[in-house]
Symmetry: C2
Subunit: 479 residues, 2 copies
């Protein structure tokens, strides 16, 4: 669909009048940074970008778009990796950037809660909570760029899900603009509330297709005062999962992260950061980065050291950080690997989950399938294995042209998702569906689920104006 | 609505044929135990009781009822306290008892998950998990009677919500029969799964109005190997909440229960159980029952004793249980109080929540309001104050007739809910709305919320045949 000029002009004039100067961007130069996601895989020029400063202004924007039947795409930090928040090329979608709706409305330390606007950068919200001795536990690499509204819209995961759950588990209340332009405001930070249907659950993880989140009430936790970090070398992924089974029991809920790396991943980190020495004296097929944390007055180091000593049948070597600086350095192997795995170019990402008990089989079979099918590519596996969640990415050989990379993406997805299917796993553990995984999602979904999702979408957004074509097919596209 | 004989006979014949003998109950004698809830406040004779043995049989029952437009009410242990699972008198509703769908389908200790059918008694499921060193953390008084399907349908709470969350937080997957008789089966126990809308959230807490749960995949936790329990005496509810604020930090997520009792409640327990001595040497206005638990190899007792010693400005006296038997005895004050508060007669129950920081103000103001308005009644307050959740119940004076008790219920609700409203709290923290709180719920709900809930109900159950009149008005009743 392209938008006829008179309709476009009418919308822009109406929005300009409603929002005031500087709130509506229309020039190519201004639109550039709103037209491409962090990965570079998705780009599309929106009709315009509206930047409301309040939920009321956003209600007005949505109502005006509805009147003219202009689709709306809410946008946060553009780090979602599934193309959901970038405008579809040639579809004349209005991008709504939440960046100016970024206040921290309040922090209630005694109630262990905070209310934050959707455009607030996650890192900013985390620091504000920490200043009051409270933890907002959502933690992952993009936290310095992603925004709260996107975290909620995609039900973001990360490295501390093991202990604190997904974003969904941390949301006490929401304020949002419905597809018809009405505001739904339920920000009361009650810990328990069973009054009728829990409507906020509908919107969490709906990727902008059912409404636009404007503010969130979060559950907070005590800020840990003791954090212990260890990196251990192991003989196999199977041993890593055996170690996890014991750690889950022997460290209880003090275990806050359990991340798997393979030797290839550690090598990527060391190539990218020559200041990183090999983490242990010898090389091992698998490594686990473990973190335990608490605000309780207990000897956490004794617990962690004792645990590793009692697991010497599995742990071949290991180091427990003696300081916060050393712990940060242990995390650097993981961070540098994630950041530099693609050598600055395009690479194929997955975000799959299987039963924790099936994880060793998944990694072994999927790595083998990729190596067999794409012998010149480099598969890299890592992830939040305490949640059964692996990122198995595939790096193309250097020098491959764009068409070759496209073909590699298709082949890699087929090879990896086939193993996911065999293990009854999920092709999207924490990133969502967006546009990137829609085809794979729809080809696997059962008829009843598709019917229920379509019913919900049609009930709440009958005109199909909220992020159309994300998750489900747009009503205006041929399937 | 009463059901004309030919329609009734047609349904019963069709169900009898579909379910086989013994699966359909129709005589007054057989229906008696399915016609009255645990509290005795709600009763109603159903058209019949169907007891399917499989989800497929239930699909058949629902399809047949749909054809004849007979309303269906799923029923578990009848301990929900809001009248949701009892048939409405004279409405010819078919009760579906899940009691024969009670298998534990599997327990996967390595994945920390189990799949249980809806009719399984909660206690049975908990014991099965414990036998594999795993914890199903839903814990409350009725656990020996309530059934899993009811726990999910009402999003049950309990004493361990503080640590493990509500039932919603523990559900990984669901299998259920939709209002149109189709089965929706998503029992894969993945810890993370962001494939499209999280449909199971719709049904959790929907109190049987959107479908009938037939099986549940639960998240399990390590079974605690160390449990420490303390009962402390305090000068006020305010001091109890100050102690909670410190305990939340200094005991971290090792704190698994934090229950408030008042002296009046302890007196009720001691009157009911003459073998219970006063718990501490002197009497105190407020008591807190604290529990910390873990499977980690740490000195939990040292932590708890150290915490209480460091809080001697708040804690006036206290005892830390030296054995499991002594811990059970400390819990007995709470259990005997809950069980005997009504002296065997009718009493008014509430289940409200406020911000944790507002809890002392709520208890003080609501107790004062009840005493002022109903000077001859006895208000009893206790609850899961670490979640901001209080049960403030009102016991009528002895000898009051039924009409007097009815009037007292109305007056008590008005007095207590007025304070809840002032503090922007919830009139239903963990029990749901059902029929008991529908009027109070609907009189407080905003128009947008009501519209969204009605839209959902109509989209999924357009014929309004699933637990009609619970939560929302039935489409067939005059409002």
């Amino acid at each position: 669909m392209s938008l006829a000029s008179p309709k476009r002009a009418a919308l822009l004039a109406a929005l300009e009048a409603a929002l005031g100067s500087g709130a509506l961007l229309t020039s190519d130069a201004d639109l550039a940074i709103y037209s491409r996601d962090w990965s570079g895989e998705y780009s599309g020029r929106p009709l315009a970008v509206a930047r409301p400063r309040s939920a009321a202004e956003l209600c007005d924007v949505v109502a005006k778009c509805r009147g003219l039947r202009i689709p709306i795409v809410p946008q946060g930090g553009l780090t979602g990796l599934v193309g959901g928040a970038v405008a579809r090329q040639n579809e004349a979608e209005l991008v709504v950037s939440l960046e100016r709706l970024d206040a921290i409305r309040n922090i209630d330390p005694d109630n262990y809660s905070m209310v934050v606007e959707a455009g607030c950068v996650l890192e900013t919200a985390k620091r504000a909570a920490e200043a009051q001795d409270r933890l907002l536990p959502i933690t992952f690499g993009a936290q310095g760029s992603c925004r709260i509204g996107g975290n909620v819209a995609t039900n973001a995961g990360g490295v501390n899900v093991l202990r604190y759950g997904m974003t969904r588990d941390l949301v006490l209340g929401l304020e949002l603009v419905l597809p018809d332009g009405r505001l739904w405001s339920h920000l009361s930070p009650l810990r328990k509330d069973n009054r009728g249907y829990d409507l906020k659950q509908l919107f969490i993880g709906s990727e902008g297709t059912l409404g636009v989140v404007t503010a969130v009430a979060f559950k907070l936790y005590p800020l840990p005062t003791r954090v212990e970090t260890a990196l251990v070398g192991l003989s196999s992924v199977m041993d890593a999962m055996s170690l996890f089974a014991r750690a889950r029991r022997d460290c209880g809920d003090l275990l806050s992260a359990f991340e798997l790396l393979l030797q290839e991943g550690v090598d990527i980190a060391m190539r990218a950061r020559p200041d990183l020495a090999p983490p242990l004296a010898a090389r091992y097929p698998a490594y686990v980065l473990m973190e335990a944390s608490t605000s309780a007055a207990i000897d956490l180091k004794e617990m962690l050291v004792g645990f590793l000593a009692s697991s010497d049948d599995l742990v071949r070597d290991g180091v427990v950080a003696a300081s916060r600086a050393q712990a940060d350095r242990l995390w650097l192997y993981r961070e540098a690997m994630v950041e530099h795995q693609g050598r600055g170019g395009r690479y194929f990402r997955t975000d799959v989950s299987v039963r924790i008990s099936d994880l060793p089989a998944f990694v072994e079979r999927a790595m083998a399938a990729v190596r067999a099918r794409l012998p010149e590519a480099l598969p890299v596996a890592y992830g939040h294995v305490g949640d059964g969640n692996v990122h198995l990415n595939v790096i193309p050989p250097e020098g491959l042209d764009n068409a070759g990379v496209d073909a590699l993406f298709v082949a890699a997805e087929e090879a990896i998702f086939e193993i996911v299917d065999q293990l009854d796993g999920s092709i999207s553990a924490e990133h969502g569906i967006g546009r990137a995984k829609r085809k794979a999602f729809l080809s696997r979904i059962d008829a009843v689920t598709l019917d229920l999702m379509t019913t919900l979408k049609r009930s709440l957004d009958p005109a199909d104006l909220m992020s159309p074509g994300r998750i489900l097919p747009s009503s205006r596209e041929a399937i």
